[in-house]
Each structure stands twice: as structure tokens, then as C-alpha cells.
Assembly symmetry: C2
Amino acid sequence: MTLSDDLKILKEIDKEISLLNSAANLLWWDRATLMPIKAAEERAEQISFIAVLIHEKTTSKELSRIISNLSKNITKLNNIEKAIVTNYSWKLSRINKIPKKHIAELFKVIGLAQHNWEIAKKNNDFKLFAPYLEKIVELKKKEAKYIDPRGNPYEVLLQDYERGITLKILDETFNKLKRDLKTLIEKVKKSSKYGKEFNLKNIDFSIEIQKKVCQEISTMILDDNERFLIAKSAHPFMTKISPNDLRVTTAFRNDPLFSLFSTAHESGHALYEAQFSEDLKYTILHDAPSLGIHESQSRLWENQICRSKNFWKYYYDSYKQAFPNIKNVPMEKFYESINIVRPSFIRIESDELTYNMHIIIRYEIEKALMEGKLKVKDLPRIWNSKYKKYLGITPKTYSEGLLQDSHWSQGSIAYFPTYALGTIYSAMMYEQMLKENPKLEQEIAKGYLQFVKAWLRDKVHKHGATMRTPEIIMNACKKNLDPNTLISYYKRKFGEIYGF
Amino acid sequence: MTLSDDLKILKEIDKEISLLNSAANLLWWDRATLMPIKAAEERAEQISFIAVLIHEKTTSKELSRIISNLSKNITKLNNIEKAIVTNYSWKLSRINKIPKKHIAELFKVIGLAQHNWEIAKKNNDFKLFAPYLEKIVELKKKEAKYIDPRGNPYEVLLQDYERGITLKILDETFNKLKRDLKTLIEKVKKSSKYGKEFNLKNIDFSIEIQKKVCQEISTMILDDNERFLIAKSAHPFMTKISPNDLRVTTAFRNDPLFSLFSTAHESGHALYEAQFSEDLKYTILHDAPSLGIHESQSRLWENQICRSKNFWKYYYDSYKQAFPNIKNVPMEKFYESINIVRPSFIRIESDELTYNMHIIIRYEIEKALMEGKLKVKDLPRIWNSKYKKYLGITPKTYSEGLLQDSHWSQGSIAYFPTYALGTIYSAMMYEQMLKENPKLEQEIAKGYLQFVKAWLRDKVHKHGATMRTPEIIMNACKKNLDPNTLISYYKRKFGEIYGF
């Protein structure tokens, strides 16, 4: 086999994996948005079968041989080929170390764990879920050991989601963030405004008009509606079916802002996928290099743009036209209502400022679990003491406490930190944009968002997974991961609202 | 390998093919209903890749070995196992005879033919499409030769769609049908009512309310809405994603009856798929044994039930409530308007009586093409002369003539007869139901449709593909394919309406 034969087969396999992912993603998307309820079991079989095909293709001897061969000749490849080979090389170096038996066992436990987590959450019964979580922790520790017997198990798993971030970096970053967030939250609580904010949640908004507003928000962010689609699902998410088929979902609650900001959030994810370079189509590089940087894109549109005063200077008039029942609410009051800070139990419903405290709590807990410093049975005590200490509140039930999220039942451990990293990246990017374009906020106040989109495309999106996240951040923001930028942004924003 | 090993692997492969079909069907359904337009090319790649996987699984050496082995031991198998083996055996005996190269070439030509057919139809330019049709005819002749070098090529291809029906049967059936239809159409044209029928098409109906009516019609036929879903597409169709996930689409035209009857039609198809025996799940038997018998199910609900006077005795009051703009139209007038007979050019828009003439014209033409008695360049002349002779009208353009259908461009030759066979089967089934339950029409007039559903389930649906169509028809209707039953039904129905 010549080098070019190998490259040809690699590109074919890469494309086949990408096509299988399209089918899998459509099966997932359809399940969450449309599928008749009685088909749930059949759909699970379809999804799992496609997952098996993808796993077989990825772990085939042929792919391993080709990657090993091309790795030895890496200097002869062009930049995209190099990146494809190094990405697969890294992926195979992990996946090929895990015995098939282990994966099968993990999937079996996860199946049971998810089912029992649902019942446990519904019945507020932690004891029902605990044995499954214990088994998952044990298996994930084992998995980390397979991959790197000498590494810290949490750090090893973290690489699946945020490659290149170490425990040292996370500890430093989160400790700093925690300290500063605590101070800021205290300041908000002591503000004379606290508890007297104008609250929109009590006003009634029609779902039909909410849908129209979501469509508008999404069109503002995504422009081209021949590549995108919005649908309704129980939990908002974004999925790429293929490069020109990007799907955003939203959900409707009593709170009209939930659908609006979730649409902005998911549209931010979609814009990222929409702006990958054309060259990367049907390759492993048509993807973000990490979950954190993907999250930075949703955060940036949700928070820095759509929760900003300047955005509403532009958009509030037409928003009021859509919802005449707030026609007498001044813009400043409305802006206040969408930025109320209030420590609360449910992560995905929390405000912009307190959000990261939820992440830090989870990080500290799951790291301790993986390092063997904490046992599953002690979770309720630790959970409550951390909520009391960091946010000043104590959950009354497991369901609004440690049973709220499905992630652990799905075996996703070391995943939570990416949410906070994404938030930090988004603040760093926005600050850098402001430096490069001092008129940016005036432009946003006029509804002109092209600078933001072009900046993101050139500095972040178009690279796909050809570069690693730390490299992209350094090139785009001229510095490494830095929680101070986020803190400064919070100080400015919430200082103005709460008067400190 | 023991027999039970072979059976186990066969069941696995059978299930895997079924799961891949689910993914393929969802990709098709989504493309027709929701997919953003720019993703068309990517979607074609996904669908074709899944088709290749299905083809690879079906033509694998392992499956051939297992089927051949089990065929030799067929007496040791239970009835379902036997039917699975004989179905695969028949399928492989055809597919394995066609060289891969031929399939690749056919797919390439079809791709170009479809594209050029679309342009040709738009521009009324037969010459643009003719060379592609010539190539398709040539390749389909070759394909028939691969399968059976000594058979009549049309008859060989027909077996893919309606196994067990010979050219002799078709010729006898269609000649009889043609003669009688001609007489009946002449009678209608000479009726004093002809040209003076009450016509609903000129009345304006809201799409939103049409949707509601479609939902009602579909619910009447399908009952259980946790297994079904209705969506909108350019051309109505039904697809099974999986046994408990059956999808019907409809389309909306100026004519409100189009969406109503297309919903009844597609729901009839869905009910068939919904009532297969549970034992057949994930096997090749979870399917109709032929297209004609599948079509009989859509026809029966569309025509015998939903275009009948008794059905409207039950439903007309609530229909009028949905559309108050016809509140003064008496039921008899409405019934007349949904059964107007008028020779016309477009098959899928034709009335119940003249419909089969379109099929017979196509049958005669495509059979002559395949037998080498007719050349593609002579098609326009033949088409027009047959329309003049059988229906008394001459199309003014190719677009409303021989370019109207996409089937030939898709390589579907010998497929049209199944539409007429389905229509005949439906009349035979309905007549037999009436014999077994003389009160059936009174029941329908009260909206009670359970007898029809149960009869269809027990006599037709539950068997799936465990029996062949002629056997099912004989068992259910106590006679072989018989066009006279259809003609008698037409005489009764249209004789009453047109007074002859």
C-alpha cells in the first residue's frame, strides 16, 4: 500500500463514520421532537445498532494500521491530513485500550442506571439510585486506568471532553472563580435592589408568539434559513445532521425568557457548526476540539449578546410589539428582569452569575468521587453542605439536589467543568472583540451583529478541530484561560444593575 | 455450525437489515417533510450509504451460505422460520444474479435520469429525457436477462412488485377491465347529469381546518395515536420507520378533497403495517407480500369506505361544522361532488372510475418497450393515440402526458400494474366483507368501522409476508383475481349517481 492509497481509504472511512453519525443524530433528534411514544424501545435498538457500526468502524484493524502507518510519515502530509491523522491517532490510543467487555458492561449499567435515576428523581429516593452510581464510579475509574494506569483518573477522563486542560489548571481556575463569585453574590444580596427587582415571570405570554420570537432570534444569529430548522423538545439542544442541516430545539415554560434564551444558546452552538471550513466536510475535523469551546459559543450569544443592554436597545421595540401585555414596561425594567440574580437549586434554570457555582460544586464532588476521597453514600451530606457554603441555600429534596441532572446516570463524569470553561472562554472572546472593535457595543445597539459572526468565524469556527482548544484561545484572545476576564465582566454588568 | 446456530445468525442479520431500513426510511421521510433544502446533496449521500450497507448485508456470503443450508433442512423449521428462509431464498436468487457493476451503472443512470426528467417536465421537453429513458429501458432489459435469460423481461421484472402474477393473467384481466371501463365511461358521458354535477372544488377551504379534518380521518382509521404521526409533504406517502412508528403524509391543494382522500389512502397503508402479527417484528416478513396487496388497503379506505354514501351519512354533519361555507350543501350533492367522473390527463388527480385506464395505458406501453415492440422515440405518438382511444382526450403537452410521472426515471418499470391490481383486490375484499356481514353498510353509516379493521387484520394484515398474495386473496375472498367484482361495484355506484 502506498501512502496515497492509505490516505484514500482513511478519507473513505472518515466519511463513512460521518454519514453514520448523520443517521444516528437524526434518530436522536426525531426521538426528542416527533417520534410516536410507543416506538421508544425500537428507536433505542436503532440508535444502539448505528452506534455499534460506528464503534466497529473506528476500532477496525484496518483503520489502526493506516493511522499507524500515516503517523510514521506525518511530515509528508498536508495540514488537514496531518490533523485528521493526529485526531484519529489520539482517539484510537484511548478507545483501543479499553476492552470491548468493559464497554459492554458500562452500557448495561448505564441502561439500568438511567431507568432507575428517572424513578429515583420522581420519587425523591436517592437510595434507589446510589448502587448504580457506585457501579458507574467504579467502572469509570477502571476505564481511566485502562487508558492511563499512572494518571489521575479524573484528569484522564477530562481529556475526552476538554483535551489539554489539567487538574492543576482547573483547580487554580475554579478556586479563583469561586472566591470572586462568592464576593460578588454577597454584594448582590446586600444590594438595596435585591428582592425588589422587576420580575417578568408572572406575566402571561402566548406560546405561538414565543415561537415567532424564537424564530426571529434564531434568524438574527444564523441568517441563512435554508440550512437551519427549529423544533420543540422537552429539553433544548442542538444537533448537526450534516454540514448544511443544523437543528436547534427549544422548550416552552411559563417563563417566556426560557425559550428566548435557550434559542439564543442553541443557535450559538449551531452557528459554530455552520462556520466550519468547507475543507473539513465529512472528516473528524468537522467538529469543535472540545466541549468547553462549543459551550463558549452558546454562552456568548445567550449572555454577552442577548442578555446585554445594547441588544435590547435594538430589539425591545419589536419584542413589545409581539407581546403587547408588556407595552408599558420600560426597557430598563425589562433588562433588569432578565438579569435577576438569585441563588437557586436547579442548574439549568439558574441566573448568569450564580450558574458557575453549580458547576464548581459538581466538579469538587465528582473529582473527590473519582479520587476515592468521597463515597457515594456520603454524597447527600456533602452536596447540601456545599450548597449552603457556596450559595447560602439548602435543597429540601434529592430531586432538586443531587438527583437533578441525568449526566452521572449516563456515565458522563468529568463533563461538568466544560460548562464553566465555556463561560470563561466566552467572556475572554467578547473582551477581545471589544478591544479590536471599540464600536462593537454601538453596533449591537443597532442590531448589527456581523462583526461578531465574522470574528468568531475567523478566530474560532473555521478551524474546526484542526487546532486544540488552548491554541485557539491563545490565538484568538491573546492569552490563556483566565477567570479574571469573566469576573471583570460580571463586576461591570451586575455592579451596574445592583449598584455596587 | 448447527441448524440452530444458523437460525440464530439469520435472525440477527434479518434484524440488522430491518434496523438499517428504519434509519433509511427516517432519512427519506425527513427529507420529504422537514429537511432544510441546502442539505439535499448530503442527504442523498447518507441514504445511498445506508442502501449500500443493506445491499452488502443482503448479498454477504454468510447469508447465502445460511439460506442455502436452511433451505436443505426446511422441513425441520417452524412456519415463520420457513417463510423467512423462502423469502430470502427467493430474494437472493434474484439479487445474487445481478452483477454489482450493473447495479452501479443503473444507479448512475437513474441519478442523471431523475435530474433530467425534472427539467424535461418543467420545460415540456421530451427530447431531453428520451436518451436517459432509452438507457434505462436497455439496462432493465439486461437486468431481467441476468435474472432469467429465458423469461419474458416484463414478466421477470413484474415479480419484484407482484410475485406470482403472470403476463397471461395481466393481459386477460386488463383486457376485460379495459372493455368494461370503456363501456361504463361512455355511459357516464351520455348521462344527462354529466357536466352538470355539483362541484366543490371552487369553494375556499382553510388549510388549518383541512389539517384538522385529516387528523380526524386518520384517527378514525388508525385509532391509536401513540404509534402514528401525520405530516405534510409535496406528495403524500406512508412510511414505516419501525413497527410502532408509522408515518402518513398529506399535501394541501386548492381542492379540499385532495388532502382528505390522500389521508384516507395513506392511513389505509399504515393500518396494514400496524396490524402485522407481533411475531414478525424485525423480520423480512414484517411487510406486505406485494405492492398490489398493499395498494388494495389504501384503495379500500379511500374509495370503498371514504368515498361511499354510507360513510358520509355518518361524517357529513361534523364535516360541515368544520367548513361552515358548505353548510347549505345537501349531503347528496356533496356525495356527487366527491364522485364526479371526468376523463383527465394526470393519473394521481383522476377520479375513481377512469383511474385504471391510466394504468392500463402505461402497462401496454411499458410492456411493449420491454419486449422491444416499441421504441422510446415513438412514445409521444403512442401515448396520445391511446389516451384518445381509451379516454377520448389528447394531452396538449408532454408534461401532462408521458412526462407526468417520475417512476420511469427512477427505473421503476413493471410497477404500474400493481395500482390496478390493488384496486381490483380492494373491491373483492369489500364484496366478501359484505357477504360475511350484511349489516356492514348500516354499521358504516353509524361510524362503526371495527368490522372492517378486524376482517382486514385476520384475513390480510396479520399474515405479513408469510403467505403470497394470490394465496391471501384466495383465502380471504374465496376466489382468484377477478376484475368483474370491481366492474360490478362501479356499475352499482356510478349507475346510481349518473342514472344508468
